[in-house]
Symmetry: C2
Subunit: 351 residues, 2 copies
């Protein structure tokens, strides 16, 4: 049994006990730095005896840097945002930083979460799939903490944002459906307050109307941005047989497209794409698998993560925050099986 310690040794004590320089002690605790294995073990042993570890939080009070970045997650039920979290964890860790996670209700208010965030000394805040008031953005910016909205923007906000060309992606799916001969449509929307869902839906409808499709040939379902929500919405909409199943259904994210696809196969014994075409958005790993092979718009997560980190400029804490930047990166249509390809020649290379 160990009793939790009270004393605090310094790197000087450890260096003295291990018979090395203070700089060697510092290197022993810096991942990736060079040091002979024997020396590292000796230092760790001395550190153990003295209950010493370097405390980057104590250091942060002097330097004002904690090397912690807060990620606020609004929808952990959508694998896309877990894949985004994963990308941030790996990228930040590779540069010696860690992610402190905060969750809020799907599409919910993050003001409460920001109050929590501010109790820690974080170097930046990344917010996905959630709302944030202008007041809270100012509170962060006034403290010198940059805020980046990932795949979202808040009109009138000082927060910067990085997002995919969502409306354009919606247009691409509409174009693919039209080329495959679809004339009646449904779209399954997500978080009604989220700009991501709104923009994709708008691009989709605009493109269809430009092609002469009437607004009454485009129905709308609410899927709450999750698999089960889309599954239930499809069953509810079509189970009494009075509503005709359309030629094509656009899930404004992949996980809803998958939920819709499974509902159509399971409850109505329909074949995709023969009986109904399905298009998605995101290109999550699950959508690439054999049972789904979803035609979708790929969001370039790597590039979006790069752009987000560029705005945070964590390496230059004294550079002023530049508010209100809005970076838009293009998505890419990936052809698989859920929409017949123009020349019927199958999947996009490398998809």
């Amino acid at each position: 049994m160990n009793i939790r310690p009270r004393t605090r040794a310094t790197s000087f004590d450890v260096a003295a006990l291990a018979g090395v320089s203070q700089s060697a002690v510092s290197r022993a605790f810096t991942p990736g730095s060079s040091l002979a294995e024997e020396k590292r073990l000796r230092i760790i042993e001395a550190a153990r005896k003295l209950n010493y570890v370097p405390n980057s939080i104590a250091r942060s009070l002097t330097t004002q840097r904690s090397n912690i970045v807060a990620v606020i997650l609004g929808n952990t039920a959508n694998p896309f945002y877990l894949q985004v979290l994963e990308a941030f964890m790996h990228r930040l860790q590779a540069e010696g930083r860690q992610v402190l996670t905060f969750t809020v209700e799907n599409g919910g208010e993050s003001d409460e979460a920001i109050l929590r965030v501010l109790r820690y000394q974080v170097d930046g805040v990344i917010l996905t799939s959630a709302q944030l008031s202008t007041r809270m953005v100012s509170l962060c910016h006034d403290r010198g903490i940059p805020v980046v909205l990932f795949n979202r923007y808040i009109p009138g906000s000082d927060a910067s944002g990085v997002r995919c060309a969502n409306a354009e992606g919606g247009r691409q799916i509409a174009t693919a459906f039209l080329a495959a001969g679809a004339r009646s449509f449904a779209m399954i929307k997500g978080d009604p307050k989220g700009t991501t869902s709104q923009d994709r839906a708008r691009g989709f409808v605009d493109r269809l109307m430009e092609a002469g499709i009437g607004r009454d040939a485009i129905s709308e379902l609410e899927g709450h941005s999750v698999y089960d929500g889309a599954h239930e919405a499809v069953v509810r909409e079509f189970r009494d047989g009075r509503t005709k199943i359309p030629d094509a259904i656009f899930g404004i994210n992949d996980i809803m497209a998958m939920g819709a696809m499974d509902a159509l196969r399971q409850r109505f014994s329909l074949k995709v794409p023969d009986d109904v075409m399905i298009g998605g958005f995101d290109d999550i790993a699950e959508a690439r698998r054999f049972p789904y092979r979803l035609t979708t718009v790929r969001q370039p997560i790597g590039q979006m993560v790069d752009e987000t980190l560029a705005i945070l400029h964590l390496d230059e804490p004294h550079r002023p925050i530049e508010p209100g930047r809005d970076v838009v990166v293009p998505g890419r249509l990936i052809w698989r099986r859920s929409i017949p390809a123009p020349r019927g020649d199958g999947e996009t290379k490398g998809a």
Copy 2:
């Protein structure tokens, strides 16, 4: 443009400016505490003007508590561990704590990650799907930081662990296969150093041998605990047609069972369970969906999270760390479609 600030106001300054008590200032920044909305806004406004926020990290240097728990993730490609991370994020946040994430290679060494962890003032460490040396566990325990291994144990280690009854679960899948008439078997194993994979495989093989199945009727494939790994292993094993496809395949986790199932359908046009039965382990959300409907062993994530937090006893930091506890919780066989049920009566209720 805002310049990052240097000054630090105190709660006294904020209380004075807002015309409230210091305790009201504290409550304004404590999520969930009661305070009139008008007063909260006034305090936030005053805090903004003064660049004040309560800093729980500064406080942690006095109290030795940061309310941060480190979670080390060894396999972010297995959705099970992302679902576990999600459970910890929600549970810890509900009690006013946050998760600081660390990633290591799948099944890899965490010693380097622990050195990183120790640079922060964390209240506890949870480790999933990765290795950890005894030395590093001692380093944490000596600092008063409890370590819990989630679904893993390290023989001879002082770290406590919480895990599912993995060997017993492997036995349950074997029993289900036998009851359905299977006589030849394959199992797809994961991380060879991981006790989880070893125990499930051992229970599976022991049960089959007890039933008189010869060791040569049980082949072993390596799937590296991920979808693609299992998919490729199945294709490689059976593509030349010289190896007979067995009656039943056990993926020692669901994501590998799914990869195997897709490979069998996509590359060999086989039907599940008619041509080959598949069993899994974990009961991830994906395994429940229409294309998979996997018969599997459900790990009770909620209960395992509870047991982990009980061992960390974050609310009682002065209670000594009790090393080497090993908590085992039973899994539950969930009948779906990938193994014919005993009386052919379909899915487990509530599955």
